[in-house]
């Protein structure tokens, strides 16, 4: 735990949608037509150690996919920075990403969308390494074949088009494409979510094998708590753009500290427990355009007190290597307790 390879420091990401001309004109009369700001990420800090698989868990609108794209360098953070081995993952030039690292590679959710349908998979795999001179020109074909075999496909498949593969096979191709760039860090964005259960197990096994063989460092973004528990060393729970809890996986699952984490666990149907009643979280996930004041979870939290509506909770230590952003862990939820 001494060698953070990837540092995410106070990263915020806001998306601003400017109104169109017509909206602005109408807005002059109705008072609307102002830019809409989505707070996708707010002040997120995380370190990822070499060889670690960090799970990022949350529901829609929690910012987990945005975080993945900021780490990959596709999105420039509005505030804060992301560094890999001390160097920024992307250089920004006049609001556009100018140069970004080849050292972070991403695997998308839907393998039917993430492969160019009109490019042979061999070419899809080879073009990145060839362009960046990662593989010597003469060795490209052999290396691509070896990679395909490494992910459990046949080398001869290099000449086929994506639509000739099943979903699971395509996801293997996507993994091979990422590995071909010889990255330091992999970002898996819901990488097994769209696969059938039996295929999901195959891909998870592949991932664990590759991790063992290659010593991969990865951000594993998922909404699926049981998958995350199976493959991750540490887990970060996110809610409405903020990090609410961070802990080693076994500790988090044994003893969730944040009320949201507990509620999330309670509402997940699990097999084999014979659980018939869900302790569902009440209410809906608020919009990231207009997040609630104070702790974003307070309108749905069974333990919320007056302080939660006012103060944004900080991440505080909650025992061995874990942190949680909840007033319960930081002096209590009552306003008076804070004043004292």
């Amino acid at each position: 735990m001494t060698d953070p390879i990837l540092k995410i420091e106070n990263v915020s990401k806001r998306f601003t949608r400017m109104p169109g001309l017509a909206e602005r004109l109408v807005g002059k009369i109705t008072g609307g037509g102002k830019p809409v700001v989505v707070h996708a990420l707010t002040d997120v800090s995380l370190n990822v150690d070499r060889g670690e698989v960090l799970g990022i868990v949350g529901e829609s609108g929690c910012g987990k996919s945005t975080l993945g794209r900021v780490v990959t360098g596709i999105y420039a953070p509005s505030d804060g920075r992301v560094t890999l081995n001390g160097k920024p993952v992307a250089r920004e030039h006049g609001g556009n990403i100018d140069k970004l690292t080849t050292q972070v590679q991403m695997i998308h959710q839907d393998p039917f969308a993430s492969l160019n349908p009109r490019m042979k998979v061999g070419e899809t795999l080879a073009e990145g390494p060839r362009y960046h001179n990662i593989i010597p020109a003469g060795e490209v074909r052999a290396r691509i074949r070896a990679l395909l075999e490494k992910v459990g496909l046949e080398g001869a498949y290099a000449d086929r088009l994506p639509h000739q593969f099943s979903g699971g096979q395509r996801q293997r191709v996507a993994i091979a494409r990422a590995l071909a760039m010889e990255p330091e860090v992999l970002v898996l964005d819901e990488a097994v979510a769209s696969l059938d259960v039996s295929i999901q197990a195959q891909v998870l096994n592949l991932f664990m094998d590759l991790r063992r063989d290659l010593g991969l460092t990865a951000l594993f973004i998922s909404h699926d708590l049981s998958v995350v528990r199976h493959v991750c060393d540490r887990v970060a729970i996110m809610y409405l753009g903020r990090l609410v809890e961070l802990a080693p996986a076994d500790q988090l699952y044994a003893d969730p500290k944040h009320p949201y984490t507990s509620a999330l666990f309670a509402s997940v149907p699990t097999i084999g427990t014979g659980k018939r009643v869900f302790e569902a979280i009440k209410g809906e996930i608020p919009s990231p355009i207009n997040p609630p004041s104070g702790c974003a979870f307070h309108p749905r939290c069974p333990l919320a007190g007056p302080r939660c509506k006012v103060d944004v909770p900080r991440l505080t230590d909650a025992g061995a290597a874990r942190t949680v952003a909840c007033h319960l862990n930081d002096g209590g939820v009552g306003l008076r307790e804070v004043a004292a």
Binding site: D196, S198, I199, Q202, V231, A263, A266, F278, I281
Partner: protein, 321 residues
């Protein structure tokens, strides 16, 4: 007592360039009032086509080539298109993965619900709106009166799905078919809806067919389970039987590949290969090439074996433990 929904020998075929493909093959099951049946399978297993076939929503090049669908004892397949249209919505309701399949984006929720009520029953608009409000309240929508005035796009995904369920409930149908109805929703919202669906079945006595790929959802919601593979039901029994003591090697394999049942980081038992294409099914048992128990016998059509109400379509079912 007749079952609210009984499906007998349902077979649906699609005519494609490569010849006819049997998407649903001799499927039979029944659901009694107030019970929930989970129809489980992976993509391409025919679970959704089964749902559409029951609803009579199969269009060319597909056709139902055999079988009966009985709702309260009446065969839906004997009905004319016109009668079938009346039956849909009134006796059988359907909920899709995407609620926008049901909802009209340009009409207010209340207006379209009232319209749906008045298609089948003569009543004033205000009485129809009242019915709509009651339906929304049944599925746990707070401040239902305001929601009636909203357009679908003003509602969250979870709320839209509740409205779609409420619409399916409008005529107190005997049967509700839900196809991956909570798959696209967040877990916390899914939890809320599952709890309400369970209550709904108990309260209204509707028979519900819950079509999903998610075994965890099924194990916590349904009473009975049918597992589908390559268009056939390969295992059928109560939830306790199928989840607790699966007898078909495929069911066993599916359950074994769920991560939460294994120690973190350990290799997951996996079913080798992938689901076969319906146009190129192997002879005999379709699961044969992926099955650890397969023998030469499996190249012949598998027999139906029933023990204590748990039926498997297999030459070599697992012993009951």
């Amino acid at each position: 007592m007749t079952a609210a929904l009984e499906v007998r020998g349902l077979t649906t075929r699609f005519d494609t360039r490569g010849g006819a493909v049997t998407a649903v093959n001799d499927v039979s099951f029944s659901v009694e009032k107030g019970r929930i049946l989970g129809l489980v399978g992976e993509s391409g297993s025919g679970k959704s086509v089964t749902g559409f076939s029951i609803m009579g929503l199969i269009d060319a090049p597909g056709r139902i080539s055999a079988g009966e669908v009985l709702v309260d004892g009446a065969d839906l397949r004997a009905l004319s298109d016109e009668e079938m249209r009346k039956m849909r919505g009134r006796k059988v309701g359907m909920v899709f993965q995407d609620p926008m399949m049901t909802l009209n984006p340009v009409l207010r929720v209340g207006d379209q619900m009232a319209m749906a009520v008045r298609v089948h029953r003569k009543m004033s608009k205000s009485a129809a709106l009242d019915e709509a409000r009651k339906a929304l309240e049944t599925v746990g929508i707070p401040s239902a009166v305001e929601r009636l005035k909203a357009y679908p796009h003003q509602l969250s995904g979870g709320m839209r799905q509740r409205v779609a369920i409420a619409m399916a409930l409008l005529h107190s149908p005997s049967v509700i078919i839900a196809d991956e109805a909570t798959t696209a929703l967040d877990v916390s919202i899914q939890g809320q809806i599952l709890a309400e669906v369970r209550e709904l079945a108990d309260k209204t006595g509707a028979a519900i067919v819950w079509i999903t790929h998610d075994l965890a959802v099924v194990s916590s919601l349904v009473d009975d389970i049918c597992v589908m593979y390559a268009g056939r039901i390969v295992e059928r029994g109560t939830a306790e039987q199928v989840i607790g003591h699966p007898r078909h090697p495929y069911t066993k394999g599916l359950l074994d590949s769920i991560p939460s049942l294994h120690a973190p980081g350990t290799p997951l038992p996996q079913i080798p290969g992938s689901t076969p294409q319906l146009s190129r099914l192997p002879q005999g048992c379709p699961f044969r090439p992926r099955c650890p128990r397969a023998t030469e016998l499996c190249a012949t059509p598998p027999p139906e074996v029933t023990v204590e109400g748990q039926t498997v379509l297999c030459h070599h079912p697992l012993e009951r433990s």
